[in-house]
Symmetry: C2
Subunit: 263 residues, 2 copies
């Protein structure tokens, strides 16, 4: 099995020009197949504020009304996606920007209303990833850059959490490739003590995660990321790293960095 790196970059790194430049240089150096998935929550929130569209988050997820969907589509699929692609192209990486709608790459369903109406939020279909076209792309040297926008196949765009999208891509491609999934962000890993940047938990099993959750050690914003990560491991992804964006190459070269999630 050939190896594919699926690398998700967080919004705070995208917002930091120096950190982003280093990250994209490192990303460009990865010789194996690779896919980039990006968020962009912070610039989306800033645009919403300027436009007077109030935002609310529940469990780290953005409630997406019609106006917010427009904003995230503009910011994620437009501004950030195309800037990333243009920068990667300048580094001779043959990047293509994609949403889930393009070539029907990732289809999703509008989340049903149970307790909370999330609005135009999409949960990726179990067979929603177009692995055939995606494989053709990566095997011809193309580097897909995904914004976290999906569609339902009936003409409706949907907002999908970028961590979830990275996880869904990882799981779908794990049937054909050996997958390493990296969540790159502005912290050194999952912290035992949120006030101490050096309290990184080096490895974590699902059992340990559940215990840390119970003890209230895991901060709210980290929960969806970890849920996604463990779900990916359970479904066939070989390794998941949660690490600082500047440590990307370490995790590729098998040096230890950040938090490694294991089965």
């Amino acid at each position: 099995m050939k190896k594919v790196y699926i690398i998700k970059i967080g919004g705070n790194v995208i917002d930091d020009a120096d950190a982003l430049e280093k990250f994209l240089n490192d990303f460009s150096k990865i010789d194996e197949y690779k896919i980039l998935v990006h968020g962009g929550g912070k610039p989306a929130s800033e645009l919403a504020k300027k436009l007077g569209v109030s935002q609310s988050m529940v469990n780290g997820r953005r409630i997406t009304d019609a106006e917010t969907l427009k904003i995230v589509t503009m910011v994620y699929a437009g501004l950030i996606n195309k800037q990333l692609v243009a920068t990667l192209q300048s580094k001779k990486i043959n990047a293509i920007g994609l949403s889930g709608a393009d070539l029907n790459m990732i289809s999703a369903q509008k989340r049903p209303i149970i307790d909370i109406d999330y609005g135009f939020v999409g949960d990726v279909d179990d067979t929603g990833v177009n692995t055939e076209v995606l494989s053709t792309f990566i095997e011809t040297g193309i580097v897909p850059v995904f914004s976290a926008i999906t569609h339902d196949g009936k003409g409706q765009l949907l907002n999908t959490n970028a961590d979830t999208m990275a996880s869904a891509l990882a799981v779908a491609l794990s049937k054909k490739y050996k997958i390493q999934l990296n969540y790159c962000f502005e912290k050194k890993g999952v912290l035992k003590n949120i006030l101490d940047e050096n309290s990184v938990i080096k490895t974590m099993t699902k059992t340990e995660y559940l215990q840390l959750l119970k003890d209230g050690i895991i901060s709210e914003g980290m929960i969806p990321k970890l849920d996604n990560a463990f779900s990916a491991i359970q479904k066939g992804v070989s390794a998941v790293f949660i690490a600082h964006s500047s440590d990307l190459l370490k995790t590729i070269q098998n040096e230890h960095a950040g938090t490694k999630l294991i089965n």
Copy 2:
């Protein structure tokens, strides 16, 4: 030579839900190879207004400062592009949204400052269209949907007039395919009298165009469109139609509609 339709849809049609729905239904019915190019000037201007970013136009072209570049990238490459792609996917058209940066599809140069500083406006390089990848796409049934954003290969996104982009695509592909270029908009064609919707000029040669220009018959907004169109014909495009968006299929079925530009 196989035929390729390159169809540019104007911002006023995109803004009119009913007109857009009819247009996309008609577009979906074209059996031959096809490419869609879209503008989006009106929604971009509206967003600029909401954000308090003042806009100025010279000869029908938008002066693109850094803030305006962000706005057009968001509106063209994000919102409009992904909505068009999702709608076409729902009609079983295998659309992919592209900017010039994606797969280095269209490279451009920042327009040099002579009399006017257009800002981040890009003029497409003479050999700037990646016809090889574009051909592979259309020959495998993919329908490219281009937003009028290009890049310079050095990491800079650029705003390119959508008419010009359609024309550049048409010229580049005319070496390999028989090209019909359609400019679809909200008027019935090029009008002799701008106040009379029925004064459509049915055919126009370059000589006739120059005379009409001299006589002040051609309105300012139409000039870049016609310049592009005649330049495309001169460089190998077989036919150019400027017609109402609802008349698309007529021009495909060789019925007369709108203004046909000839050599």
